[in-house]
């Protein structure tokens, strides 16, 4: 088992040097530079369009009554879901003593932070008057108002901000010993000072390690229920309302499974090019990718159950509105989205049953991208298809995205890639001290 995780020819020194030197000594490669420029241009477009949105108002999007929740909410749910895999890998797999997490937790946590941060932007953009976003926070204001604690939207801001802060804390804690490695290995004074400041003077004393391990485990134990709670709360934004198609108790587990599914797909999409480009095949092995693919398959089956339960309860309810929305998904204006997401999320991932597919890099990469597209469509379908036909035929209407909707979605993806590219060059993408632990076990 463990020999699949690390080739025994790697020792403490070579592991440290290999991972640290990606950050400290590797010259900038033109592929990285090209990616940086392109994703930087997309990021600039993202922020430019935000300015346009603030100047003109939400009318530049395709949203209107009755579909007032368009891309912004769909993108929010999608991005926050992608983040889930990082916390799952770092917290759940740590508690379950799954050693294979040690080489993928760091960059997966970075992915979580960036995805959750981008997710958090969308509801604020969506507010219409984003400069009042702070009204969601409880503070003694001169209007003598307090947040409505019975509203899932208020739960949401607590859930998302707690998730972001705890993810950041967990990620930074894990980085402290590695920052010390970078500090001690850096040759330039600037790098020594910058990494040294963030390493907080870590020296690796036995008492420090003991407290570190206990605290790390405790934060993992706290982050584990947190990751389940975040997407559950997001799903309650829908499920608490009585709109047909939203008002369902299957939503929390179904959202969490979908989140992990899309998150692991994103882990593969990031890991496969990264390990190739930086020559990290010995650390992120086929065994790791195979395991991630198995988790994808498992969460995909839970998701499939969610889809089927939704259809079943729609008809079983006997409620004509619930039945109408279910039929509307099958044959209504958004039916192509519905069937495509079924194909991308349920049928095509069945290929993961085959070991040959789970061990093929191109297949996993393509599947990862397809699943992310499929999951985005699922979020879109949930948000839009219920709103476009509610109780009164007089208030039916279609949502048609505008060029601003599409460009902002593309811009947010570009911004995500931009942040990730910066991260790979500035911080160790694989946890060095946890890889040394694996090397130590190999020696015994």
């Amino acid at each position: 088992m463990s020999s699949q995780l690390l080739n025994p020819r790697w020792g403490y020194a070579s592991i440290s040097d290999k991972i640290a030197d990606i950050v400290l000594h590797r010259p900038v490669h033109w592929i990285w530079a090209l990616g940086f420029i392109v994703s930087g241009a997309f990021s600039a477009m993202f922020f430019g369009l935000m300015g346009y949105l603030f100047l003109k108002g939400v009318g530049v999007w395709g949203v209107n009554i009755p579909v007032a929740w368009g891309f912004a909410i769909g993108n929010f749910v999608w991005w926050i879901g992608i983040g889930h895999a990082g916390t799952f890998i770092s917290a759940f797999l740590l508690l379950l003593r799954q050693k294979w997490r040690n080489s993928i937790n760091r960059f997966a946590e970075a992915m979580t932070l960036f995805a959750a941060g981008i997710a958090g932007i969308w509801p604020i953009l969506h507010l219409g008057r984003p400069w009042f976003a702070y009204w969601l926070l409880p503070y003694p204001d001169i209007m003598k108002l307090w947040p409505q604690w019975r509203s899932p939207l208020v739960w949401d801001i607590f859930a998302i901000s707690t998730y972001l802060l705890v993810s950041l804390l967990f990620w930074y804690m894990g980085l402290i010993p590695d920052l010390a490695t970078l500090r001690d290995r850096a040759s330039s004074r600037t790098k020594q000072v910058v990494y040294g400041l963030f390493a907080l003077g870590w020296r690796g004393e036995a008492r420090h390690w003991k407290r570190f391990e206990i605290a790390y485990l405790l934060v993992a134990g706290l982050a584990a229920p947190l990751v389940i709670s975040v997407h559950s709360v997001v799903s309650l934004d829908f499920a608490i309302g009585n709109t047909p198609g939203y008002h369902s108790t299957i939503f929390p587990p179904y959202f969490v499974a979908g989140a992990l599914f899309s998150g692991f797909a994103m882990v593969l999409v990031l890991a496969i090019p990264m390990r190739k480009f930086f020559g990290l095949e010995d650390f992120i092995t086929m065994h790791h990718l195979d395991n991630a693919a198995k988790i994808m398959l498992a969460t995909e089956l839970i998701l499939a159950y969610g889809y089927l339960a939704e259809i079943f309860t729609g008809f079983y309810s006997g409620d004509k509105y619930e039945i109408a929305i279910t039929v509307n998904r099958f044959v209504g204006p958004y039916a192509p989205v519905y069937w495509t997401l079924f194909a991308l999320n349920i049928f095509i991932p069945q290929l993961l049953w085959f070991r040959r597919i789970r061990r093929s890099l191109p297949a996993l990469f393509i599947l990862g991208i397809l699943i992310n597209i499929g999951m985005w469509m699922e979020r879109f379908m949930i948000v839009v298809s219920s709103l476009n036909r509610d109780f009164l035929p007089s208030s039916w209407g279609l949502f048609i995205p505008t060029w601003v909707d599409w460009s902002m979605l593309a811009g947010s993806i570009g911004f995500f890639v931009f942040l990730f590219l910066l991260f790979i060059r500035a911080l160790p993408a694989i946890s060095i001290f946890e890889m040394r632990e694996i090397a130590a076990e190999e020696r015994q």
Partner: protein
């Protein structure tokens, strides 16, 4: 020259450091410090470190966060800003659970991290052990045992003999 911070021995493997730490404890050195590039199973026990209050701090902060979060909602929704919505109860506690959960986790997680750093005396950017040039490898592949001068049984010459008997790669003096 003032008294040194202590004497330090360098080892090549985790097992050697663990064995050395146990010998130091048997020899009666109570303040031994062991430095390693990754956590070593059993090392804390070997140098006689057992009690940490990080879990207690986490528990207390978690309870404070939970109680505080619930109180905030209860006070604002029942006392300070009661809203009569169709005669429904003001203290609708099941609806207060999500935010209570979030504040519990938030407080507990930050307490765990802050307590860990505080108990470790971090951040502390300058420390005598960093003055030893070889110590740069403590975050790479080398293992160090330090017997500090503040140890009640410290006496330079016997400590140096003791460390040399452990067959380290080298023994160094850590300047104060």
């Amino acid at each position: 020259m003032s008294a040194p911070y202590g004497l330090m021995a360098e080892f090549a493997s985790a097992d050697a450091l663990l064995a050395a730490a146990r010998r130091a404890r048997e020899a009666g050195y109570a303040r031994t410090e062991a430095y390693s590039p990754f956590p070593i199973e059993g090392m804390a026990e070997a140098i006689g470190f057992e009690k940490t209050r990080v879990p207690l701090a986490t528990l207390v902060a978690g309870i404070a966060g939970g109680v505080g979060g619930f109180f905030l909602q209860w006070y604002t929704a029942v006392i300070d800003y009661p809203e009569n919505i169709g005669g429904r109860p003001l203290n609708s506690w099941p609806e207060f659970i999500p935010v209570t959960f979030e504040t519990t986790v938030l407080f507990a997680a930050f307490a765990a991290a802050i307590a860990m750093l505080a108990a470790n005396g971090l951040p502390r950017l300058r420390h005598p052990v960093f003055e030893v040039r070889e110590f740069d490898l403590a975050t790479r592949n080398r293992f160090f045992l330090c017997i500090p001068a503040r140890d009640p049984r410290f006496d330079a010459a016997p400590v140096r003999r003791f460390l040399e008997a452990l067959e380290p790669m080298r023994v160094m003096e850590v300047p104060a």
